[in-house]
């Protein structure tokens, strides 16, 4: 993955020099371990700041919403699917974009790695399939594959589904993964177990809305939790309000969520809010054979109706 960067810089420089785009959106190196910062280059001299490694988990499609410029955008598999969504939902047009596709081998789970060590991690570097984690009094080498974000572990669309440029050969897609293993575990729980599971899951939530704001799908001009005339949801950390936020938001993701994991990556409290969206992803897939963001020519599951759509789950 590290080898991609020369290609990314080269393509971006060319696009900007030839004025094919007004800007290129990518990542620059972060100031702390396992963190990169989404970054926009507006002229060729800035492309040297672009980086690419396994800490580029934030979904860049989020930065396209309602922009008027022509834009080059670095897109891994999930970003490309969210870009497709954005095009379908009229948040950007295909013509405005030059998509620089990045075949992806997964992003690392910074929450999980941080929680493994009692003392501070001061540096994390990569070497092929290894991650080297350093602190003031330790150094450990981990296998990257074991520390991928949970969504990356079960991703079956690592290659960009739509692109104008490609920075490397396509990678092999993962075949033998159980995409819905986590949902299946929850589905078999009793009502009480489910209640406790989701209560525990949400109990650390501080309602900072980082999950919502990191999600490219959450582009409503006024989110329902921000409605003030009249107000729908209380502003404090009352569990009823917190659940209302998460449940309703999850429903708004149905047939749209690409399981990019940006929401989980962004959460400062390490909450796996994908526990909600993954269920709707599974239902859409099993009931309608629908996977979000694969083609700009198909309309989403909740927007179409076929006479033979299954309906026996409606009670």
């Amino acid at each position: 993955m590290l080898g991609y960067i020369d290609k990314i810089r080269g393509i971006s420089e060319k696009l900007l020099t030839e004025e094919k785009v007004d800007m290129v959106i990518g990542f620059k190196k972060g100031t702390i371990p396992m963190m990169n910062e989404p970054f926009v280059a507006r002229n060729a001299s800035e492309v040297k700041d672009f980086v690419w490694d396994s800490n580029c988990g934030i979904n860049l499609a989020n930065y396209l919403t309602d922009r008027k410029e022509t834009i080059g955008i670095i897109a891994k598999g999930c970003d490309s699917r969210s870009i497709v969504n954005h095009i379908i939902e009229n948040k950007i047009t295909r013509e405005q974009l030059i998509i620089i596709g990045v075949p992806c081998k997964g992003m690392i789970d910074h929450h999980e790695i941080s929680s493994m060590f009692d003392t501070e991690i001061t540096e994390v570097t990569e070497n092929g399939s290894d991650i080297i984690v350093k602190g003031t009094d330790f150094e450990e080498t981990l296998k990257k594959d074991s520390f991928l974000q949970k969504n990356c572990k079960v991703c079956v669309h690592r290659n960009p589904v739509i692109h104008d440029e490609l920075v490397a050969d396509m990678v092999d897609e993962q075949k033998d993964v159980d995409r819905f293993e986590e949902v299946n575990k929850i589905e078999v729980m009793s009502q009480e177990e489910k209640w406790n599971y989701f209560n525990d899951l949400l109990s650390p939530c501080i309602r900072c809305y980082a999950c919502r704001n990191a999600c490219p799908l959450c582009f409503c001009p006024t989110c329902f939790v921000d409605e003030s005339k009249p107000q729908w949801v209380g502003k404090g950390p009352d569990p009823v309000d917190t659940r209302t936020f998460h449940f309703l938001r999850a429903y708004h993701m149905v047939g749209r969520c690409t399981d990019c994991g940006s929401c989980v990556r962004a959460c400062p409290m390490g909450i796996d809010v994908r526990a909600f969206t993954k269920k709707s992803e599974k239902d859409c897939f099993e009931l309608y054979g629908w996977e979000a963001g694969l083609s700009i020519d198909k309309r989403p599951a909740l927007e179409t109706f076929k006479q033979n759509d299954p309906e026996d789950f409606i009670k």
Binding site: G30, T31, E120, K235, M269
Partner: protein, 351 residues
């Protein structure tokens, strides 16, 4: 300053004895997660003193994320219909064990806002006064700690009643205030440390300070014109990545903004005070629908201008930050106050 030596073997025992007079609050780490916060310490719970800066700051001890201020009824058959009544509060003594010096200093900074000659916020002030802060010096500052650049530091006692300094087998408790002394008495810790302890603490303080690797400078911001900084061209790039969540302001010990809400259920109502954030569009929206801070750039600029310029101009007492590093660690997109401060400090408007 008087220093009491607490044998680690008597740590749990002393905390237990102090529970006769005080409720205890301290840092608690979530199991198997890198998440921690200050929580009431139930029976048999000990504060986790290895936690450096809790994920969310301890400001909620005095300024809860949401708190009931007043109550009312809308029942017209009642005499006090539609009248606000004060809400019963518990301000019995509590001791905050293991708070870090920068977090205690943050309370002094926030006090400037909640306790002024013209106005005293009774909720904040009463809760603050109920607290005794038993702080813990930072022997090994982490790489995001830039507290010495912000008028506090790893051994700073300014916001504390007692400063504990951890050694191999003991805590050296430096008594800072009478409130602190009263707590130590309640815990039954009274063995004064012997000669040479001041030097020992002084040496440890120096050692800790030399381990600090992070710093910021804001020496040139004071003399800059507000409008020059406000209109500077760097805000566009500086704010690009920001997703306008509430993370940085919610985890920060010095962010003090709140909203007031009335919530009625049936005929019973409460008026609450709840954290708000300058990063949220809702923070400034007018009833007309007009939003004077309608764009992301404006909101990001507000956060940093308030912390690093307006606060400085208004109080002439440093910046509105104690250098705890939480916002840097928690920001999902790596917006780093150190870099923004540097950009502001070095900014020269085009002539």
């Amino acid at each position: 300053m008087k220093v009491i030596k607490i044998d680690k073997k008597d740590w749990a025992g002393g905390l237990e004895r102090s529970r006769n007079t005080y409720k205890l609050i301290g840092p608690v780490k979530e199991k198997d997660k890198d998440i921690s916060s200050f929580k009431p310490l139930g029976k048999d719970m000990l504060p986790d003193l290895d936690v450096m800066a809790t994920s969310v700051s301890p400001k909620s001890i005095v300024f809860p994320q949401e708190e009931v201020m007043l109550t009312y009824t809308t029942d017209e058959s009642k005499e006090d219909c539609n009248l606000f009544k004060s809400h019963d509060k518990d301000y019995s003594p509590r001791a905050v064990i293991g708070i870090r010096p920068f977090d205690a200093a943050a309370f002094l900074l926030v006090k400037k806002n909640f306790d002024t000659p013209d106005y005293r916020d009774p909720y904040w002030c009463d809760a603050y006064e109920a607290c005794t802060f038993i702080g813990l010096a930072i022997n090994n500052p982490d790489s995001l700690d830039f507290s010495p650049s912000t008028k506090t530091g790893p051994f700073d006692t300014s916001g504390l009643d007692v400063l504990l300094v951890e050694t191999e087998d003991s805590y050296l408790a430096q008594v800072v205030t009478e409130k602190g002394e009263a707590y130590l008495n309640a815990a039954g810790w009274e063995n004064e440390a012997g000669n040479g302890v001041d030097k020992q603490i002084g040496d440890m303080k120096k050692a800790a300070e030399t381990k600090i690797t992070s710093s910021i400078s804001y020496d040139k911001i004071k003399s800059k014109e507000i409008l020059d900084l406000y209109n500077a061209d760097f805000w566009d790039q500086a704010s690009f990545a920001c997703i306008n969540c509430g993370t940085c302001t919610y985890v920060c010990p010095t962010c003090w903004c709140f909203d007031i809400q009335d919530e009625t259920r049936g005929k019973k109502g409460i008026r609450t005070k709840a954290w708000d954030s300058c990063m949220f569009p809702l923070f400034t929206i007018h009833t007309t629908g007009h939003n004077p801070r309608g764009t992301k750039l404006q909101r990001v600029r507000q956060r940093f201008m308030h912390k690093l310029k307006y606060f400085m101009d208004k109080y002439d007492d440093g910046i509105m930050c104690v250098g705890c590093g939480r916002c840097i660690r928690s920001c999902p997109v790596n917006i780093d106050i150190r870099s923004i401060c540097e950009t502001m400090n070095n900014y020269e408007p085009a002539k």
